[in-house]
Symmetry: C2
Subunit: 277 residues, 2 copies
């Protein structure tokens, strides 16, 4: 179809339950193995060719490094408006979702002629370079409950998935600095991530995903007192919750957070990757 002046793309958010860190010379090969859930809450990205260049998130003008890196790579300067219910830096992979939505939208409005894999790669490289994500872009591009088998963007990375769906509840207390956490303890993270991924692949169910995510969060030592208290309360109500990597966010399946007396945000596992409207 001919390029039009405006494109709208929905990209799901992505909550990581466990992951490993793989740094390579080539940012397209840099990434993580692990598993997470994509969410029906995400980023609704509108890209306009003929607007005043820049980015707004929920109508507030701002800059996001991953988005800027995508635009620099594509050599275009559109107006980008993102609407989202998700907070930045709280473990929802929002930087990656915005980067991917920007890449897909800009490709459409400028008629750039990239394939989907090429745009995923550009967004992944941007998210990695910004230090804001290692696997959120490829996960959000896939949808469902992605298992990242091999790190990196297409054609290097490879994905599988847990073939189930569920209601997802989450509570957010704020952000963690992703780059700092990753710098501090990559080996501890990767060791715990490999153990968890192996256990998940032996039993690739959502129930097992929650269990290995919970173990991972404890093993890597990222639980704050505030989050640990919520996990404990949920467990006392026979539920299972874990922590979004990396953010001060708790997530659970079904009604496990509300059953424990919390008033969570409610989403579902998103059945699709990015959706061009």
């Amino acid at each position: 179809m001919p390029s039009s002046k405006t494109a709208q793309v929905f990209v799901p958010g992505h909550v990581t339950g466990l992951f490993t860190v793989h740094r390579r010379e080539d940012p397209a090969r840099t990434g993580s193995r692990g598993a997470g859930l994509t969410l029906s809450d995400g980023a609704e990205v509108t890209v306009e060719r003929e607007g005043s260049p820049g980015l707004s998130v929920n109508a507030e003008s701002t800059t996001v490094e991953s988005v800027e890196a995508v635009l620099a790579e594509l050599e275009v300067e559109p107006a980008i408006a993102v609407e989202t219910d998700l907070p930045l830096g709280a473990g929802f992979g929002l930087s990656g979702s915005m980067a991917l939505g920007t890449a897909l939208g800009a490709n459409l409005v400028y008629g750039l002629g990239y394939t989907e894999n090429e745009l995923i790669r550009i967004a992944h490289v941007a998210d990695v370079a910004a230090g804001t994500g290692l696997g959120d872009v490829v996960a959000a591009a896939r949808g469902g409950a992605p298992i990242r088998l091999e790190p990196g963007a297409p054609p290097h990375g490879s994905l599988d998935g847990i073939p189930e769906t569920a209601r997802v509840e989450y509570l957010t207390f704020g952000g963690l600095s992703t780059p700092e956490v990753l710098k501090e303890r990559p080996h501890r993270i990767s060791e715990a991530g490999e153990r968890g991924l192996e256990a998940l692949l032996e039993q690739p169910t959502l129930r097992q995903f929650m269990a290995v995510s919970r173990t991972f969060a404890t093993d890597v030592g990222l639980l704050t007192d505030e989050i640990e208290a919520v996990l404990e309360t949920v467990r006392n109500h026979d539920g299972q919750a874990s922590m979004a990597m990396l953010g001060r966010t708790v997530f659970a399946l079904g009604t496990d957070l509300s059953d424990a007396g919390y008033a969570p945000q409610v989403a579902r596992i998103h059945p699709a990757g990015a959706i061009i409207r």
Copy 2:
């Protein structure tokens, strides 16, 4: 989540525009390269653990070889009810969609513990063994406008996509026998398919997809008079239509068929692969 007694899965239909034929000893490596469109019309598959075993399609009891092969591999005997607006054997990949929906649904209701890639592989192998499809399962599992870069099921096959969406119109005149056509002219098909795929990858847009599909249909010599007449009429109205591989079905984007005076079925490119309800 615990296995439940009933699962419902939607699997999009898939219209192939061009393809190649790759036969290998291993059916998981057998398949095709090529490109197509997944459709918002597809198979709504309900799998029940405690029903009387067997398959119904639109409430009529029947047998479908690809579905039987999936059940034999999984060693289960559920009741399966498929609702679909699409005809079998008319180029919508319905055998593959039903096989994939059966695999995903049975995994859920029996708690079989397969990953998504494993279920895609089982459905692909079943569709290949039945002789009803070479790439429909992996395409339907992906969604969007899939480009099949490498033949076969995960982890062998690999996919990309055209990052666009569109309204799709189609007209069906009935079936073609897939196995017979494939037996007759595999080399002619693969040569035309490789040429078309190369041209599509140089310019991965829906407009180019329609053009290379149209050329492919002519090159492989499968156009019937009836279909050629529709394609010609659409072209006379400045539109572009092509033929679904393999069926007596014409498809077009936007309003190209209705603009030419036809009363087509209307769908959209499906943004997701299989959706677990």
